[in-house]
């Protein structure tokens, strides 16, 4: 098998600025570039797309599908992991990007073609094909600002599919324009497949995914939740959606993080790290891990207590610990720093869990910052130990007879 695209443990992080200084002046004064949360859009995902096949990608809004395509197109760069792309890529991310409104359609074909890496003579040779495909010949010498939005998209699509890519990335722009043009788009995609091009297709149109892809993946919250035949994966997705609708209390309500406190000291990040020091969101029962809470405060804060807690996805409160209960007193914190809680083994049994963290006052118990259900993680049992919530390291003894050891 030849992989046209391979992801190997790829993670992508975005910074979301809560308060962006974004100016040199502020940066000089405050010595930093704004307060931000980091959030991982993709969390160590791995997959391969075999050359000449079509991969369908589905997932809810904001799950990281477009981010994945931009990584393949090298518009974005990963924070960890490795991406290998073997072939010329054309990305249909947003049609008509880079059109100049005052230019005619013809001039824009040259400009856009150049932006996509096409040489002028190549564009000239394909000019007629592009104009005919877009079916806008009568308007080709009018300024693009006079085009309807459908015409603009048609022109954008016509240029992008004429780049002659080896790998085609399509993000939600499968069927643009009116019914007739949509048919043409579908026909063109089928033709690409017949020519043995590799296609990665992102769409919320599950029928199109079933019709065109050889394989599909489901992305949710930055992880690949399902990988298999398009039928299997789209069904799994529909089931998820249904479950969410039927049991909104189970997911919608509990999943949302909440946050409160005086913000005298603030939590800036909560991370769960595996033994290799990298963020992890999936553990096996018994795994060691570290929880790192980053904080910052505008003014020094006396006597803070740092704590974490874990609850199961269905709301069961499982565990809570803090520095005070551990016999630690922190006289004062200033500026920013981190507090780490090491757990030599995670004694939770299989399930989905949420991690929360808080900073409170030692004496009065005032909450500075409580970030509830900030991190979601899952626990699996490598082998069956027990049922319930926690693993208790049980030992058995049977009187009157010698038990035989029997591996399961």
């Amino acid at each position: 098998m030849v992989a046209a695209v391979a992801f190997d443990g790829v993670s992508k992080r975005f910074r979301v600025y809560r308060q962006r200084h974004h100016s040199l002046k502020e940066a000089f004064i405050r010595r930093r570039r704004g307060v931000y949360d980091e959030f991982w859009v993709l969390r160590g995902i791995s997959f391969q797309v075999e050359s000449g096949t079509t991969l369908g990608v589905i997932g809810p809004n904001g799950s990281g599908k477009s981010t994945m395509l931009k990584l393949i197109a090298r518009i974005l760069h990963p924070n960890a992991g490795r991406i290998t792309v073997g072939g010329r890529v054309s990305a249909l991310l947003e049609l008509g990007t880079g059109f100049h409104p005052d230019y005619t359609g013809r001039e824009n074909i040259y400009l856009n073609g150049a932006l996509l890496g096409l040489r002028r003579d190549v564009i000239r040779a394909r000019l007629d094909e592009i104009i005919d495909f877009a079916a806008i010949r009568p308007f080709i010498d009018n300024a693009v600002k006079t085009y309807s939005s459908g015409m603009t998209m048609r022109l954008g699509f016509a240029i992008a599919v004429n780049v002659d890519p080896e790998i085609l990335l399509i993000d939600e722009v499968l069927a643009v324009g009116d019914a007739e043009f949509a048919q043409k788009c579908y026909a063109r995609i089928s033709q690409f497949r017949a020519e043995g091009k590799t296609i990665i297709l992102v769409s919320h149109d599950l029928d199109a995914i079933r019709k065109f892809s050889d394989r599909a993946i489901l992305i949710d919250q930055g992880d690949i939740r399902a990988d298999g035949s398009p039928d299997e994966v789209t069904n799994r997705y529909l089931n998820d959606v249904r479950r969410r609708q039927e049991h909104p209390e189970e997911l919608a309500d509990l999943k949302t993080t909440a946050r409160w406190g005086t913000h005298e000291a603030e939590i800036t990040r909560i991370e769960m790290l595996g033994t290799d020091g990298r963020p992890r969101y999936a553990f096996d029962t018994g795994d060691p891990l570290e929880v790192v809470v980053s904080y910052r405060c505008r003014r020094p804060v006396n006597d803070p207590v740092f704590g974490i807690s874990i609850s199961r996805a269905d709301g069961v409160y499982c565990y809570a610990a803090n520095t005070r209960a551990n016999g630690i007193r922190i006289p004062r914190v200033a500026d920013a720093g981190t507090v780490t809680c090491s757990l030599p083994q995670l004694n939770l049994l299989e399930g989905s869990y949420f991690l929360s963290a808080a900073i409170t006052d030692y004496e009065r118990g005032t909450t500075f910052d409580h970030w509830d259900r900030r991190v979601e993680f899952t626990v699996r049992q490598k082998q069956y130990y027990a049922g319930g919530v926690v693993y208790m390291d049980d030992h058995w003894q049977v009187d009157g007879t010698t038990p035989v050891h029997s591996p399961r």
Binding site: L24, R74, A80, G117
Partner: protein, 283 residues
């Protein structure tokens, strides 16, 4: 688009064999510049068309500014203050023309990435093209202004001498120097949106700190070192040498500026290359 496999990796990952066979180009920057040459010329002509819309009138407006400045400074410095440089307009323009181009290049280059945020976020292309197109389009502008300068030099009976053989060298050095600074400013502007305001202040101060409206001889002896340490003084005085004094530029100035320009362009391009990885998400 180049056909080599994308290299995207981070330091923590061990190096593994790549899928695909084509080798990774060593000089990514140069490679891209060649492959996207036409994109560059497209962007430049787009820029020029916008600027010189209505052709003749456009050129007129773009030359009006230096001519007006020339008039104002001439009145101030040869009628009111009476600087003893004759003919003052040619002396002034020989430094003012390249300076204006320099200032314009930096100004346009600074916002070249943020102005094109739409395509930076959505399309893969070598991002270095953006500041380069700013340099190239003001370069075209420079040729037009230098033509005007030649006409005026003849009109004022200064004439044009053999010393003008140094002109292409000076132009190239200036382009390298402004490319380096322009790249740094463009990258800075993505992360800090007030770089452009900071720049306009800097340009004003730098303008009066460079012997353009006055000559270096008029600077008091004890202040000279400050003026002599300014690389733009070396460049501008070389321009004055070849246009106004019609003599060979000072070899020391030429060599010093060559070294500075080479350093600046290397540092600028490599810093830009590194910082540009974050443009799509930060812009």
């Amino acid at each position: 688009m180049p056909t080599e496999p994308a290299e995207i990796s981070t330091s923590r990952q061990p190096v593994r064999p790549r899928v695909g066979s084509a080798p990774l180009p060593l000089t990514r920057g140069i490679d891209h510049t060649v492959a996207y040459w036409e994109l560059l010329s497209n962007l430049v002509s787009r820029d020029l068309k916008t600027r010189y819309r209505g052709s003749v009138l456009g050129v007129f407006w773009s030359l009006l500014n230096p001519l007006l400045l020339m008039l104002v400074y001439t009145v101030v410095f040869s009628v009111i203050v009476r600087v003893n440089i004759q003919p003052y307009p040619i002396f002034l323009l020989s430094g003012l023309v390249p300076w204006n181009i320099f200032a314009q290049t930096l100004t346009i280059a600074t916002t070249s990435v943020t102005d094109n945020a739409g395509i930076v976020r959505k399309v893969y292309f070598p991002l270095v093209i953006l500041p380069l197109s700013a340099v190239a389009s003001t370069g075209v502008h420079m040729l037009i202004s230098l033509g005007l300068l030649a006409v005026l030099a003849i009109a004022f009976h200064v004439g044009i001498g053999l010393s003008l053989v140094f002109l292409p060298l000076l132009v190239v050095l200036q382009i390298l120097f402004s490319t380096g600074i322009g790249c740094l400013l463009a990258a800075g502007q993505v992360y800090f949106r007030d770089v452009q305001y900071f720049l306009s202040v800097l340009i004003t101060v730098w303008f009066f700190g460079t012997p353009i409206v006055y000559s270096l001889d008029l600077v008091p002896q004890r202040l000279r070192p400050f003026f002599e340490a300014n690389p733009m003084s070396w460049l501008i005085s070389s321009y004055q040498d070849i246009w106004f004094y019609r003599r060979m530029p000072s070899l020391l100035h030429l060599m010093a500026f060559t070294v500075v320009a080479a350093l600046v362009v290397l540092v600028g391009l490599s810093a830009y290359d590194r910082l540009s990885r974050g443009f799509a998400e930060e812009v």
